[in-house]
């Protein structure tokens, strides 16, 4: 098993880039991008369709349109509208992110609870060389801290590497890297996963059928993620991939290391996105300067497709989690993509602007979405999955962590609306999650157990 792990280690490089949420108000660019401002200016009717928070009924949008057409441009109105718009990101976008995160977590928890493979300790990844089987607490702690340091440094190195590649426009290399890693992920991990699930439920399956199923799944996945495809399908694939990655993490990270790593990663995320020299921040800024979508990769876009089946040229902005499979290097890297809500569909917008008004309206609706990095999904799911796997309070702890993470996500989105730039999505949620996990496991569980045994209700 150890040799197997080594092989797959060298292959699997789940690259989760830093996750950050960025607001939609990107730096001034073609008028098409300044959707809200443009509409304020009373331009073409097409621009009027502003994305509003879901709490607003369609009526208000219509009203706004009418009022805009009648009123000349006012600076103050512009600013007000702008603010309102960003704050209206509110409910709708939060929900658009809640659903996939919830789904991912549900998949992970369901698998952990039912398939025993993922909770067995069958060796460790090569990135966490120190074992945690030591007898003394101090030694164990030390080992886990060392593991964390190694893991984080690997992540940092790979992120910097990625940013450098991006800066020097080695797009082909990056593309190849991503394709390779997503290939590995889609095929190998799915194979393992399916194998384990079938084993658990004692379903017999022959190799040809399995091969066919996995081939179809993988091929459609590759197409969907890297090229065009229906939005829902792509989202589903991204969720699946994140869940698979999370499962791998849960299985192969030793106990304490996992928690320390989660904590360290959120700190790193905070720094990488907010510090001026942080790699992720540079990535995002470079992408914005060049007016390109950030990566054919790692971000989950929640943009709703109002017109089903419309082939969108902007599929490049969504992508799978970056799995870099550096066969040469035996390091695993974790890149988490930056998630941003920037309307970076700029270059995709330009072809759109030549289309008739109705379709551009539709396009506008669908492109304003919040984007969240896949690494975020993965680490949230790792937290919840670990809670499900190792907590003795079982479902209570899992539920508590779940709610904590969702609230963290809400708060982060709120901050996003306030600050209007890329924000790390991890720290708040992970902090809440960790706090709730440890406190629920140690404090609430005995309380609830005692209550339940006496059948008392509070």
């Amino acid at each position: 098993m150890i040799t197997f792990m080594n092989n797959s280690d060298s292959e699997e490089e789940p690259c989760n880039e830093r996750t950050s949420l960025m607001s939609a108000e990107s730096p001034p660019v073609p008028s098409y991008q300044d959707g809200p401002q443009a509409s304020e200016a009373g331009e073409a009717q097409a621009h009027r369709k502003r994305r509003t928070g879901g709490s607003r009924s369609p009526n208000t949008v219509a009203d706004r349109e009418m009022s805009d057409s009648g009123v000349p441009v006012r600076e103050s109105a512009l600013e007000n509208e702008e603010e309102e718009l960003t704050l209206k990101y509110g409910a709708k976008h939060v929900i658009m992110l809640f659903v996939p995160v919830t789904l991912c977590m549900i998949v992970v928890v369901a698998t952990i609870k039912s398939v025993r493979f993922y909770t067995e300790k069958n060796g460790q990844l090569i990135y966490t060389p120190f074992s945690e089987d030591t007898p003394s607490v101090g030694q164990r702690l030390l080992n886990s801290v060392l593991n964390t340091i190694i893991m984080i440094s690997v992540i940092v190195v790979m992120t910097v590497f990625l940013v450098l590649l991006y800066k020097y426009r080695c797009y082909k290399f990056i593309h190849g890297w991503l394709i390779l890693s997503s290939l590995m992920l889609l095929f190998l991990f799915t194979y393992i996963y399916l194998g384990e699930v079938l084993k658990t439920y004692n379903v017999a399956m022959d190799y040809p059928t399995l091969f066919l199923v996995i081939w179809n799944f993988g091929a459609v996945g590759m197409i969907c993620i890297h090229w065009k495809g229906p939005l829902q399908l792509q989202q589903a694939y991204l969720i699946m991939i994140s869940a698979l990655m999370a499962l791998v993490f849960i299985k192969y990270l030793p106990e304490w290391s996992a928690w320390v790593i989660l904590g360290a990663i959120s700190i790193y995320d905070l720094m990488a996105v907010l510090c001026p020299k942080g790699p992720l921040r540079m990535l995002v800024e470079t992408a914005q300067e060049r007016n390109e979508p950030i990566f054919p990769a790692l971000i989950y876009s929640s943009a709703m497709m109002w017109t089903v089946g419309m082939a969108k040229p902007d599929t490049t902005t969504r992508g799978p989690s970056q799995q870099t499979w550096d066969a040469a290097e035996a390091g695993r890297e974790n890149h988490r993509s930056s998630s941003h809500t920037d309307s970076q569909m700029s270059e995709t917008r330009s072809p759109a602007s030549t289309r008739p008004i109705t379709s551009s309206e539709e396009l506008e609706e669908e492109e304003r979405g919040v984007k969240l990095g896949l690494g975020d999904f993965i680490f949230y799911s790792v937290l919840v999955g670990k809670a499900a796997a190792t907590a003795s309070g079982d479902w209570n702890t899992t539920l508590a962590c779940f709610v904590a993470i969702l609230i963290g996500l809400c708060l982060t989105l709120l901050l996003l609306a306030v600050f209007k730039k890329a924000l790390p999505a991890l720290p708040i949620s992970i902090t809440f999650g960790l706090v709730f996990y440890f406190s629920t496991d140690n404090l609430v569980r005995p309380f609830m157990d005692t209550l339940a045994s006496h059948q008392l209700y509070i």
């Binding site: 879901g54 409910a91 309070g393 709610v403 404090l443 059948q455 209700y457 509070i458």
Partner: protein, 231 residues
């Protein structure tokens, strides 16, 4: 039934979902704090002493109830602020969601969380093999737990409405009534496993709370009749 409530009334509107989750979060925090207190108390006391443990447990329960109500109040304050924010944001000066709806959703949030915490381990265990009540406990354990949980969830919902209404109109007696009802219900569960002592009063209280909440939300017997006859 709670899930039905959720699906039909809350799942449509994203703002409500957020309020729901936030409500659940607040309940969770209150639970955390109360269990912290209980834990400390237990650690500090003699674990062998049975009546003392029982007494501590009762104390823990009461304290937890009080804390829940405190958190409900805090949540109310937060929602008030949020409503002001939403009103400022909206076009026509009125908030997209009224305080009553928020009260309802908050109540459901509390209720769901409380119900989930009470029931879910039970449900998980019930999937496994075993016999109920083999050690001489009641055989109706699961059933009564289910009913009790359901009544608690509903009660939380109604209390949410009543509580917010009381805060809005500054009727302290309403708030006090909610708190007392909560205490009574929790207290009545001390009679378990004498189920008649706990389930029946709880249901009665729930019915009265339901009627009260309905009246408070502006309903009336007339509306009810019209609704039923409108079939």
């Amino acid at each position: 039934p709670a899930l039905g409530l959720f699906l039909f009334t809350i799942a449509r509107d994203p703002l409500r979902i957020i309020i729901l989750i936030a409500g659940a979060f607040f309940w969770l925090v209150s639970l955390l704090l109360s269990s912290l207190i209980w834990f400390i108390a237990v650690r500090a006391s003699n674990p062998q002493d049975e009546p003392l443990q029982k007494g501590l447990l009762i104390f823990g329960v009461m304290f937890s109830v009080l804390l829940q109500e405190v958190f409900r109040f805090l949540y109310y304050k937060l929602l008030r602020k949020a409503i002001e924010g939403l009103v400022a944001l909206s076009d026509d000066g009125c908030s997209p969601i009224s305080i009553q709806q928020m009260a309802y959703v908050a109540g459901v949030g509390f209720g769901l969380m409380s119900g989930a915490f009470s029931m879910i381990n039970l449900l998980a265990d019930s999937l496994g093999p075993g016999t109920v009540g083999i050690h001489g406990d009641s055989q109706l354990y699961f059933l009564t737990s289910a009913f009790m949980t359901m009544v608690l969830i509903f009660l939380h919902t109604f209390w949410g409405v009543l509580f917010f209404h009381g805060c809005e109109h500054r009727r302290w007696w309403e708030i006090a009534a909610v708190v007392i009802m909560h205490l009574t219900v929790s207290g009545s569960t001390f009679c378990n496993p004498l189920y008649v002592g706990s389930l029946v009063p709880s249901y009665l209280l729930m019915a009265s709370a339901a009627a009260w909440a309905y009246l408070v939300s502006g309903g009336s017997a007339q509306n009810l009749r019209r609704f039923l006859l409108c079939k």
